[in-house]
Amino acid sequence: MSAAAISASRRPSPLQRFGVAIERFLLPLYTIGVTLYLILPVAVMILFSFNDPTGRSNLIFKKFSFDAWLDPLGRIGLGDAVRNSLIVAFGSTLVATILGTLIALALVRYSFRGRNTTNMLIFLPMSTPEIVLGSSLLTMFIASTKLPFIPEGLLYPLSIRTIFIAHVMFNISYVVVTVKARLQGFPRHLEEAAMDLGANEWVTFWRVTFPLILPGVVAAALLAFSLSIDDYVITAFTAGNAQTFPLYIYGAQQRGIPVQVNVIGTIIFGSAVLLVILTTLWQRRQAVRDFAPLRTIEK
């Protein structure tokens, strides 16, 4: 076969060109469609925060108004619910991030007996349905009243304390996984260099290790915070009479959701988006600095 014949046979047939056209236009079109589908409910939530509904239910868009935005907590119990959500989210994020980061450090930096058990113990809570996590905690809190060595009122009746315990529990695994992902490929020789130069473990950790893992820790904390502030299922089982924002939404949806709920939902969404953008920019700057220690830690 001559060269000309080969190049002729390689020329795309109309059928092939049709295939290329499908691939070039169908996939992007499809991607835009699915992305819109993912975003649509969020857009509806934001739109309905500007609604002025008649009656109790905020289901049909009547009139554009800023009323709810000017008074975002103007419903009985909503302020308390939001405050509790924030307390639990900040508290459980702090504790889970510390505990999870320590586990991640141990898993990446050391080889030790019981490694597989540890991995299993981290993996299992993430692969257990929330309803099982919540209900098993509930049975434990109920049964704790029969145990002699637990102070009365510590675990039962349920309160914001038991919500906090539950949130730390489900957040630990996510923190471990996130920090570990960042620790793979950790430049261990930098730690060794610091110690060769006479730094002790404490100084090495704060001046070398911590600045290096900080982006991973921040990412893990953001994830933990967003999981905690949004959790309904586990919280419903461990809250008792305490209210959080998701519990308030659930309670309100039977009577009709007040517009204020959409306002607070929009504020949470907006803050999360802003935080993600800010951390992304910050991490880019970090990457540019190329492993230089943070100035704040030098003082």
């Binding site: 499908i22 691939e23 169908l26 996939l27 991607t31 699915v34 992305t35 993912l38 975003i39 649509l40 409910p41 969020v42 509806v44 939530m45 289901l59 999870g100 320590l102 586990i103 450090l105 141990a106 898993l107 930096r109 050391y110 540890t118 991995n119 113990l121 981290i122 993996f123 809570p125 692969s127 257990t128 349905p129 309803i131 099982v132 209900s135 098993s136 509930l138 049975t139 434990m140 109920i142 315990i165 730390v168 529990m169 630990i172 471990v176 730690e191 060794e192 110690m195 090495t204 967003s226 949004d230 299922v233 419903a236 089982f237 998701p246 939404i249 659930y250 939902g265 949470i268 988006v273």
Partner: protein
Amino acid sequence: MKRLRLSRASAPYFLLVPGLAWLVVFYVYPAIQMFLVSLWTGNITEGFRQTFNWSIYGESLSEYWPWILRSAEYGGLATLFAFVLGFPLAYTIAFKGGAYKNVLLFLVIAPFFTSFLLRTLSWKIILADSGIVLGPLKDAGFLPDDFRLLATPAAVVAGITYNFLPFMTLPLYVALEKIDFRLIEAARDLYAGPWRPGGAIVGGAVGGLLVAVVTAILGANPLIPGIAGAIVGGLIGTFLISEAFVRVVLPLSLPGIFAGSLLTFIPAVGDFINAELLGDPKSQMIGNVIQGRFLKVTDYPTAAALSFILMAAIIVGVLIYARLLGTEELTGGAT
């Protein structure tokens, strides 16, 4: 390797103990306690006693097996739909995202920044009987006036699919992103061309089945829409599925398929929010029963037994699935 005093044998345990202790006390111990509670007898007013009443398992299984089956069915369907929706999405972002890659990924996870409940309630607004979707369709005469999506199994499955789609898409993306594009080029150089007639057959079968299942859930006759779906799927399969895709991309994305379907199926099967908000009494799942038994009826033993059955079924299922796919992603997902 010199690591001086850091390599003390006890050091890792100091780091591990606080976090693992929390997990043992508030995850492992409650699971055991739940098992013990399932063997209680009594009621909330007179108190419960540990009687080791094993018959509770048989009783709750025989009473609630339709709910268990329905949960498996809805969870399985939602996982399937999430895969069909999520795979092309992850593929496009990974291979054709270009400059828009990060923006697209951000849009995929953006729903997570809104409350799960608020998103599901938004669907209630969108799918309402005379809402923004059905209203115009009914006015234009495409749909009968009494057609509804809310309070049907279709709405529940759609809600679950929506809520867990990012869980499917992200692991798929991670797996596809890792694929070395030179492997695909090598396959093409080795004469991997379009995948016909395999693409036509697979595309037609998948398209036809999916459309038939959807129309069957919606309560219509699945025959004609199914045939239409098969034709469209066949066309897409013929032109879009290449041999390089079947022999290189698909096998290499198996870890992502494994992780994604687990991350979708497990929360989907235990979900009760979508069934509660978008379904009707006939589309309730096992999660609704557990939630009701625990929080409304305070029938702790039955609720604990059902919850324990759900947990055991999922662990067994995960192990079988891991064995079938022959992958070590089970712990690899956590390591």
